[in-house]
Amino acid sequence: MVFLGRLADLAGAPALELAAPLDWAGLKAELAPALAAALDDPRNRVALNGALLADKASLQAVAGDEIALLPPVSGG
């Protein structure tokens, strides 16, 4: 799982290895409370293998998948 922008600071690292498979509830259970809360924040988007999820809670990740947690962008 990769964390972008300020969420990398919150996670303490730009990436984290998690055991698959994972659904939304499983993912939140694996993360520290602050990161689980960031997952729920509607301003933060989730991408699976480079594709944004329209409905984050529908996440279904299997071994080898890359989950990305993306905070609001802050400009070029």
């Binding site: 972008l4 922008g5 990398a8 594709a51 609001p72 962008v73 802050s74 400009g75």
Partner: protein
């Protein structure tokens, strides 16, 4: 000019670049144009800012810039579009973005650059932080950038 190929050059660069070296070849790649509009953004010399870092998410950022170029070509009558964006660590005075649009008419060229810049500033997958007194601070989107973007919703 029937069915000539549209010229498109979209890049993410992780090292300093010289906009002048891009614009000459871009202009020559669009013979018969009426006008070229170019915007170059540089890292401002804000007091106390030592460096700027732009992070991107590779699977989304470049494809997002291509989607933006597609929309610019749909919305304006363009001959060519150049969109080059820095990522990584930058110092004040370094170019950070260069957008150039070539068209038969100036209105299309100017508006396309305006459109692309507004979207790059507040709807493209970049995260910016700046270093002041040895500390990094994440930059929040500016309200003015959101207002600029909203101009194109109509």
């Amino acid at each position: 000019m029937p069915s000539r190929a549209l010229h498109r050059d979209i890049r993410l660069l992780d090292a300093p670049f010289h906009p002048g070296a891009l614009i000459g070849p871009f202009t020559e790649a669009n013979p018969g144009l009426g006008g070229v509009c170019t915007f170059v953004g540089e890292v401002r010399s804000d007091p106390g800012v030592e460096a700027l870092e732009l992070t991107h998410y590779e699977p989304l950022t470049l494809s997002g810039m291509h989607d933006l170029a597609d929309r610019a070509f749909q919305r304006f009558t363009l001959m060519g579009l150049l969109m080059v964006h820095r990522i990584g660590l930058m110092r004040p005075g370094e170019p950070i973005v260069c957008v150039s649009a070539a068209a038969l008419h100036r209105r299309d060229a100017i508006d396309a650059v305006d459109f692309c810049m507004d979207h790059l500033k507040s709807a493209a997958w970049f995260w910016k932080r700046e270093k002041r007194a040895g500390q990094w601070y994440w930059i929040e989107p500016r309200e003015a950038d959101h207002r600029d973007l909203a101009r194109w919703q109509s």
